[in-house]
């Protein structure tokens, strides 16, 4: 069971946290892998801090519980820094990926974090530049994949097109792909 990758997503209602957790899971479907994606169960309100989870594994996943010791934590909203203890339970070798204007080193200092790997990207700016709205979920998926190769980039792009394609105009889909790609390239490790 050691090959399960466990990811915890933090954000605020309306930022696409649950969608991000699901998109990542759906992207591995084609790779023949197993997955779970689920929100932290509760009433979701616009702006309220929320969590979601994704598990990915090459074999069937049997446990049905929340993730308390994640391999990766993704933070979609910079205003959660200092508000929510999102590094709680993060494995020593774990990965923290944060939407922030801070550099990875500044972020470490602010969080007083000396373990794991820290990745930072200004996903809000990327989302505003590309999609034109502050929905940082696509860039943050890009940033996560830069940090851990839990799913192939091709599979991910395919899934984004697949899921958004039926709901929004094609230029919006491509704007999301651009956001994803840009964040993948602009994410910094420290």
């Amino acid at each position: 069971m050691s090959d399960i990758t466990e990811i915890r997503w933090h954000g605020r209602g309306g930022q696409g946290v649950v969608t991000a957790s699901e998109l990542l899971a759906e992207a591995v479907l084609e790779e023949g892998k197993h997955f779970q994606a689920f929100p932290d169960y509760g009433p979701e309100r616009m702006g309220a801090p929320i969590r979601a989870y994704t598990r990915i594994s090459s074999s069937p996943i049997r446990q049905h519980c929340q993730i308390t010791e994640p391999d990766a934590v993704v933070v979609l909203d910079p205003t959660l820094i200092g508000v929510v203890d999102f590094t709680e339970g993060l494995k020593d070798q774990g990965v923290l990926v944060v939407n922030t204007r801070l550099s990875p080193i500044e972020l470490r200092r602010k969080l007083e974090l000396d373990k794991g790997k820290v990745f930072a990207v200004d996903a809000t700016r990327i989302a505003m530049d590309t999609i034109g709205r502050n929905i940082p979920n696509m860039p943050m998926i890009g940033a996560l994949l830069r940090a851990i190769e839990v799913v192939g980039k091709e599979s991910m792009c395919h899934e984004i097109r697949n899921r958004l394609g039926t709901r929004v105009a094609s230029e919006v889909v491509e704007a999301n792909i651009e956001a994803f790609e840009r964040a993948y390239n602009e994410t910094k490790e420290g």
Partner: protein, 397 residues
């Protein structure tokens, strides 16, 4: 029936059930949306609007009306289904008994939710366990795949001429209902063939053979009719695995009344149902790696309860913990515990058995809690003292 290739998809439990309903294309679906079942009704009503099913969909004004409409539709000779959760099931209460007492093979997709108060929309089994005496066959789903599989099998169980009882399958609200998992869907045609065409024995609409449904039935025959319901439940013990076997030949996924996991040579066992079974499997494997003889008994079919099989499977164990996700206030235990103890005692076994209540109102049940249960079983076995029978897992005291 030869095995067919399933199609791997990503769906949450609610959507998987809605897909099964689309494929089954019932004559009537009467339902009222309630969290965490809402997505089933929402999705199914889309299928209706898109013409993907030719079901008569009745968006009723309440759950009482939902079950009443199912009773009417089923008595008229139709295949009727509904879906609900928590307070919705409570609002159906009196009609649940009408459905079973009238021997109507209605199928209900039950997404478990706790009962208020305090207000809570999250999972526990207070709702379906509360309805344990309502005369419905009850199956419990471990995974999203099982939610889909049990939804389909429920129709065959309910409509089997030896059974003719309403059947529900229960999936843990949010934990399965809102959890996206990989599962395999059967081709539409395979589902259609598996469930076949429903041929009602007595239809209200069969004007050549008029029948009466729901007449007065006092001290002269009421008791005999209840005795017949008991007999039907007993026959369901044969039918549930029969259908599970046939479904297995089609899908490669075989289902029985219960399933032992590393249980045969186990000394310490837990008895679990629902989504926590999977979490327990993980812990059993860990403990086995450490040399602990841990095992698990999963109950798939709670009503009828496979007492003889349970006694046979657990009789030789040194210590047993039964996990309940609901409370029977003031009782000497809780629903699953009662069944297991009675099964053991009436078959001449008396191992040490304790009862844990867990996960009420959606409290997360993590491997550490299950580990704690086995460690307490180790202690019970080592010291030879059962200690308190009723225990609570993951609660602040």
């Amino acid at each position: 029936m030869a095995k067919v290739m399933g199609k791997p998809v990503a769906l949450n439990g609610d959507r998987a059930v809605a897909e099964a309903m689309r494929q089954m294309n019932p004559d009537v679906v009467a339902a009222y949306p309630i969290t965490p079942q809402t997505e089933i009704v929402m999705r199914f009503s889309e299928f209706v609007a898109n013409g993907e099913v030719d079901t008569e969909f009745i968006p009723v004004e309440s759950e009482h009306a939902a079950m009443s409409a199912c009773v009417g539709a089923c008595a008229a000779g139709g295949r009727a289904q509904t879906a609900t959760s928590g307070a919705g099931l409570a609002f159906m209460w009196e009609v649940l008994w009408v459905a079973s007492g009238t021997r109507l093979p209605i199928v209900m997709h039950m997404v478990n939710r706790s009962f208020s108060a305090p207000l809570n929309i999250l999972c526990d089994h207070s709702d379906s366990m509360g309805a344990r005496d309502a005369g419905w066959v009850q199956l419990y789903d471990e995974t999203v795949q099982e939610a889909y599989d049990n939804a389909i099998q429920s129709v065959r169980i309910a409509e089997h001429p030896d059974v003719m009882l309403p059947t529900l399958h229960a999936l843990d609200g949010f934990i399965l209902g809102h959890n996206l998992e990989r599962l395999e869907l059967l081709p539409d045609e395979a589902v259609k063939q598996f469930i076949g065409t429903y041929k009602p024995m007595y239809s209200l609409l069969d004007l050549d053979r008029p029948v009466t449904y729901g007449p007065m039935d006092y001290h002269d025959y009421f008791f005999e009719h209840k005795r017949q319901q008991v007999a039907a439940m007993e026959r369901a013990l044969e039918v549930v695995p029969l259908i599970g076997e046939e479904y297995g030949r089609l899908t490669g996924r075989y289902y029985g009344l219960m399933e032992g996991y590393r249980l045969e040579d186990a000394e310490l066992a837990t008895v679990v149902l629902g989504s926590t079974v999977g979490t327990t499997r993980v812990v059993v494997d860990e403990l086995r790696d450490q040399g602990v003889k841990a095992g698990l008994l999963k109950i798939r079919c709670f009503r009828p309860f496979p007492a003889a099989m349970v006694a046979e499977a657990l009789g030789d164990k040194k210590a047993i913990a039964v996990l309940d996700r609901s409370l029977s206030f003031g009782g000497q235990g809780n629903p699953l515990f009662f069944e297991v103890c009675t099964a053991l005692f009436s078959h001449g076994f008396s191992p040490k058995v304790v009862n844990y209540v867990y996960g009420l109102g959606g409290r997360d049940t993590v491997p550490a809690q299950i580990r704690q249960v086995y460690h307490e079983l180790i202690k019970i076995d080592r010291e030879g003292v059962t200690g308190p029978t009723l225990r609570y897992l993951g609660v602040r005291e």
